[in-house]
Point group: T
Chain length 71, copies 12
Amino acid sequence: MSDHRTYKKLELVGSSTNSIEDAISNAIAECSKSVKNVEWFEVMETRGHIVDGKVAHFQVTVKIGFRVEGS
Amino acid sequence: MSDHRTYKKLELVGSSTNSIEDAISNAIAECSKSVKNVEWFEVMETRGHIVDGKVAHFQVTVKIGFRVEGS
Amino acid sequence: MSDHRTYKKLELVGSSTNSIEDAISNAIAECSKSVKNVEWFEVMETRGHIVDGKVAHFQVTVKIGFRVEGS
Amino acid sequence: MSDHRTYKKLELVGSSTNSIEDAISNAIAECSKSVKNVEWFEVMETRGHIVDGKVAHFQVTVKIGFRVEGS
Amino acid sequence: MSDHRTYKKLELVGSSTNSIEDAISNAIAECSKSVKNVEWFEVMETRGHIVDGKVAHFQVTVKIGFRVEGS
Amino acid sequence: MSDHRTYKKLELVGSSTNSIEDAISNAIAECSKSVKNVEWFEVMETRGHIVDGKVAHFQVTVKIGFRVEGS
Amino acid sequence: MSDHRTYKKLELVGSSTNSIEDAISNAIAECSKSVKNVEWFEVMETRGHIVDGKVAHFQVTVKIGFRVEGS
Amino acid sequence: MSDHRTYKKLELVGSSTNSIEDAISNAIAECSKSVKNVEWFEVMETRGHIVDGKVAHFQVTVKIGFRVEGS
Amino acid sequence: MSDHRTYKKLELVGSSTNSIEDAISNAIAECSKSVKNVEWFEVMETRGHIVDGKVAHFQVTVKIGFRVEGS
Amino acid sequence: MSDHRTYKKLELVGSSTNSIEDAISNAIAECSKSVKNVEWFEVMETRGHIVDGKVAHFQVTVKIGFRVEGS
Amino acid sequence: MSDHRTYKKLELVGSSTNSIEDAISNAIAECSKSVKNVEWFEVMETRGHIVDGKVAHFQVTVKIGFRVEGS
Amino acid sequence: MSDHRTYKKLELVGSSTNSIEDAISNAIAECSKSVKNVEWFEVMETRGHIVDGKVAHFQVTVKIGFRVEGS
């Protein structure tokens, strides 16, 4: 491992019928299926769909940062 | 219904003593009293009042989008 | 008390293993230990640490406003 | 008419299967059905839906400014 | 009155031949003709027209917030 | 398919000698060669190269959103 | 005094029933009671309270810069 | 004169010991000495110098727009 | 020619009754009358005038970059 | 090769104990291990870790653009 | 030490006749004289003074984050 | 010399094969060939070209401020 690690950020949109926190967690869980060394997230945007005057889905755009393997 | 729907966005501030999600839902519920075809929201700002060192109200500014009737 | 109060804003980062709301409340509680007349907060940024594919800490940057003593 | 006119801005999302300009024009046409003295627009956001690898709709958010009647 | 008031923001452009403050006041006065419970404003943009090398009109875009009746 | 779909955004720059719309379409077409379930785009930046006082290429940066397979 | 002075910025909200300039001046006056070497300000936000369709207070958020003593 | 006028924007910083409006006017007056057809301004930034706990100069950055001669 | 070229950006507003692309081209054409080595443009803002419920002019603010002669 | 090349941007965070330039170079070097046709970078954010009152690592977030193979 | 640490950010402007990195380091060194647990910095703005056509001082505005004692 | 000096800002892009500081200095040096009273710069954007996986040129966009002659 070098002394100058490199990280990469991916941009995902997680959704949840329940809460902003769950939408974030769902995006991270999905990302972790294919990427290792996931270390942090940054919320970029919070929005959602409305059905019958109620929030149907919270949709949270997050950037997820992970260390590049080998760096 | 035409093939080029038009939407309008209104900007509301919902509040809640409980959570950010409830503040969003309260704004949407209020908006739905007078507007039809409400379809989505976008969070613009999250802030709140503090009383005695505790959050008294979460205040969330949302833009709420609805389809213009007849479009 | 003058008729033109002055307020000051401090920028803090609260954290919580549980929710965004708790991270905000923790920052406000910490701030209130040393500052009086705390009146409002504004969320600037929401991010967090990830461990084993799960949110380990929500980290919420808030500006906290308080009235300057004597103003 | 006073010497200090007041204007109001509405935020609409126009759509078109054809072009960004048509999406703008459609929003303006819809707005002009119910509002008089429409004078200018400002593009806020350009996005769209994709179906089968092609743009299905351009969706352009515009602020539309009109003079308040009587001002 | 519920314990979770909702507010709405309108975006207006006030103008004045005299000052930025007057342009703001003119927008608020116009808005107050048709809306109740007007509580605050936020300046979004300050610009103006120039004639013969002098400011002819200050034009100030403000968001004006009012409590939704019944909330 | 779960009830909380996850989306990913990629950032591409499409170019066209002809129009902004074509630059967007070219980016989407290229993206669709390797990614399924492409659903929307957001224009981030419009710029271009100039040769001999004429636009040689429109270059449009878009974020393209697609549903993560299996989510 | 070193050849590489350091400055610090504080964020205050000044208010005035009269004008934006007075709100700025009031924030600076308050700040100068407890801080030396105050050198510049930057306006961050202009807003205010409305009572009976008139501006009750202009509230101007300013960053105020001062040289750190000894630097 | 063609039917598609072109405008140019210059960025100036006007200053005044008195008010924000005077700082704007001073920038415009200076600009008008060397440029014709000056039509509008946009305020970009408001800041200033402080001496002895008082505003010594308001410094307002404006973009000033003028029609390009012959267009 | 040195190995560290310097570029300058000018800010222009092009207009067209027809399209956003034409407004951009008109600004570039006007700029090229007096400036050499024009190499690129960046769209900053898209807006326009409305007459009788139709777009009368698209007005596109562009920054136009050119290499400084001799650099 | 078509006449309308498409580019993709990746977002990386490079780090260096030494300088901002080295942090940028490290991100680019890491990216070039797996991606061809890397053509440009854009600095998005500069930050870093502090240990014992000294910068331990500069961390620079860059977007890195490369031409999509075959476009 | 609680399980929900709180951090505070201060905004400083460091300067250096030499480099951006030195300006950052000078701000951090000055801050560390009076604050413990300094952990990270974020660059907000880079500017400087020019004398005789040369950079006299780089001035870098940084936010510096430290853990609140006891949190 | 009046008591209300006016400044003008020009936007340049300096480049350097070596460092961000040199790119800034090169832009200032070029600007100083044709403009007097150059007093400050503000960094707007840092980017660059990449060749063979290495930074070929740092390109730094700066606004350069100078006092208008006679003001």
